[in-house]
């Protein structure tokens, strides 16, 4: 038979095993969708809520209640002084209004809602008292498509799924085959070793065709997350990313003898990138000193490239730098993996 037959059979074998493994179906397909669903609901956009203000009883502060309630941005509750301070500490109210002259506003400046409350209450009191407005201000309340958390999250989830599938489906599986001597059995045939490795990658990429469209379609149907740029560019970035992470998986699998050993290696690779590479929150939250390091991580590069196209709607070339990083990682991983790979 031809070499093509061997590559075809090896690839089919790998795909069948993946699709017949219920755990794989859960982690590759169900898990990212459930994660998107959970985070999408938890961080959904709510309509702006009025700031909650405690008005301390019997201090003369009650006199301002009617003025504050006239503003849609404020809701007030009358309380005793002690109860009002407790409510402030617990975050149940954002501001405590105490009577007297001048009027006393108590709030916690480290809480964003405290500062908002101070500004809103102050403005409402001044306006109600007929203070002049030296500068005329016009406002425009803007909601742009694609600026929600879920819009930002979905490309990161796709990137992370590429990483985790690459590491587990390639790295873990190969070590499992080494551990139960299947690799040795294959090496005892005339099979070309490069055919085996190539078919692992091919099977991984074939899997991509199911995995990525599922997340993209789910995010679009449930959360109305749109791909602002070209779908083809998103497809190309995921192929490059999946290839890169296959190489990383192969590298993780070069020497480990046991599945326990490779699980540790996979977690050591995956966990730092899960935190640093902008999956659930932006990588820009980390100090400037470590930014160069974070920028060259392969998952950061894949996520940034995906967001450039997915969220920002820019052409593929706008992510050229990130894609170069991904390609460089791919080359290094494959070279080292092929050099160090142990078949038995």
């Amino acid at each position: 038979m031809s070499r093509r037959a061997a590559i075809r059979e090896l690839t089919l074998t790998r795909l069948r095993v993946m699709l017949r493994e219920p755990e794989v179906i859960f982690w590759v397909f169900a898990f990212p969708v459930l994660l998107a669903l959970g985070l999408g609901i938890a961080f959904r956009d709510a309509p702006p809520e009025p700031v909650r203000v405690a008005v301390v009883a019997e201090t003369g502060a009650e006199a301002y209640v009617a003025r504050l309630e006239a503003s849609a941005e404020v809701s007030t509750t009358g309380m005793a002084a002690d109860a009002a301070m407790d409510a402030l500490r617990r975050g149940e109210v954002a501001l405590v209004l105490d009577g007297g002259d001048p009027v006393l506003l108590r709030y916690d400046p480290t809480r964003p809602e405290g500062r908002t409350a101070r500004a809103v209450v102050d403005a409402a009191l001044q306006e109600a008292a007929g203070a002049p407005r030296p500068v005329d201000v016009r406002v425009d309340e803007v909601r742009q498509r694609g600026d929600r958390y879920i819009d930002w999250l979905i490309p990161g989830l796709i990137g992370f799924n590429l990483l985790s599938t690459g590491l587990w489906a390639i790295g873990f599986y190969i070590v499992q085959m080494r551990q139960n001597r299947q690799l040795k059995r294959l090496v005892a045939t005339p099979m070309r070793r490069s055919d085996f490795l190539l078919s692992q990658i091919l099977a991984r990429l074939a899997f991509l065709l199911l995995e990525v469209p599922l997340i993209v379609a789910f995010a679009w149907l449930v959360f109305d997350v749109r791909v602002e740029g070209s779908l083809a560019a998103v497809g190309l970035i995921t192929v490059l990313g999946a290839t890169c992470f296959s190489g990383l998986g192969l590298l993780a699998a070069t020497r480990a003898r046991t599945t326990e050993g490779v699980s540790g290696i996979i977690n050591v690779i995956m966990m730092p990138m899960l935190v640093l590479s902008g999956v659930f929150f932006s990588a820009s939250r980390f100090p400037d000193a470590v930014q160069p390091l974070i920028r060259i991580l392969p998952l950061t590069a894949v996520n940034d490239a995906l967001r450039t196209v997915y969220n920002d709607g820019l052409p593929l070339l706008a992510a050229g730098g990130e894609l170069l990083i991904v390609v460089a990682w791919t080359a290094v991983c494959f070279l080292l993996a092929l050099r160090w790979f142990r078949w038995q």
Binding site: M1, A6, E9, L10, K184, A188, P190
Partner: protein, 308 residues
């Protein structure tokens, strides 16, 4: 004249302090079924994996079908069929898928259907590997080994852990392969398997070959066709036992039992009972059997082949 199927000379392999193969010479002719016998840890698997080109020896030479691994791996591989000890095939793979995968590695060979029917798994062809019995898995493993119509079949303990029926089914596959002119190298610690299947055997212990020859020749070295194992109730000397009619050889086991090798049973047994009766004693245990390769191993090493 074509080269022998397997030649190896001066083979040696150590793992750290442990000497797996001390010094080993072998020659297996084409069309022969050769058995490598010995207890666990004798070095059988290491020897076979060196011959299969899966393990590099520390010293020594190997020639397979007149070719050497270092120079001609591409030419040798397609002509060997290999069954490793305790290989697990992919669990969630159907029988026919596994056979088709292995068939795809070889340039020529029987069809997938032929391979499956040769090991009598026709009814199981759509079954997952994980749902096969031990014997069925082992037969599937042999079908994969036969996928390239090999000249030499290596079987490493193919029937260990199998029930008698499964063992016989595997023996039949081996006999059919032989009938087509194939060469087999088989390792086993079942002496009956070796006696049934092989033309020649080598008995290994501690990384060395102790004796080799046909099973018949090796059994003949014991000097008699029967073995009498006895536990007397009174002390008896080995000279007295050796003097019994028809007894060719007297050995004592580690536990103090006597082993007599004899040409026949009907003459030494009455004489033995008379001898012990004359001392006022008798027998607390007596068994007899036809001499086997187990007895050859015992005679060579003073140990039972399989530690019970």
């Amino acid at each position: 004249m074509s080269a022998p199927a397997v030649i190896c000379r001066g083979l040696r392999k150590t793992y750290g302090e442990t000497v797996a193969v001390k010094h080993l010479d072998l020659e297996i002719q084409r069309g022969e079924c050769f058995g490598l016998l010995g207890p666990n840890g004798a070095g059988k698997t290491t020897t076979v994996e060196i011959l299969e080109g899966l393990t590099a020896p520390d010293a020594g030479e190997v020639e397979i079908l007149g070719m050497r691994w270092e120079e001609a791996e591409r030419e040798i591989r397609p002509r060997l069929g290999i069954q490793l000890q305790e290989t697990r095939l992919t669990e969630r793979q159907r029988v026919e898928e596994a056979v088709r995968l292995f068939r795809s590695f070889y340039p020529s060979g029987p069809t997938v259907d032929e391979l499956i029917s040769r090991v009598q798994l026709g009814e199981k062809r759509r079954t997952y590997v994980k749902d096969l019995s031990g014997g069925q898995r082992q037969r599937l493993s042999v079908a994969c080994a036969l996928a390239g119509q090999p000249d030499i079949l290596f079987l490493d303990e193919p029937t260990t852990g199998l029930d008698p029926q499964s063992r016989r089914a595997l023996w039949q596959v081996c006999e059919e392969f032989r009938a087509e002119g194939g060469t087999i190298l088989l390792t086993t610690h079942f002496m009956d398997e070796a006696e049934k299947l092989t033309d020649r055997v080598a008995i290994m212990d501690h990384g060395e070959i102790l004796v080799q020859g046909s099973p018949r020749e090796l059994i003949d070295t014991l000097g008699g066709a029967y073995v009498i194992e006895l536990t007397p109730t009174v002390p008896v000397g080995d000279g007295e036992l050796a003097a019994l009619p028809g007894v060719r050889r007297v050995d004592q086991t580690g536990s103090g039992d006597w082993l007599l090798t004899a040409d026949e049973l009907h003459r030494p047994l009455p004489a033995l009972i008379d001898l012990l009766g004359g001392k006022g004693g008798g027998l607390s245990a007596l068994t007899t059997h036809r001499a086997t390769l187990d007895d050859v191993f015992l005679a060579q090493t003073g140990r039972q082949l399989r530690d019970e």
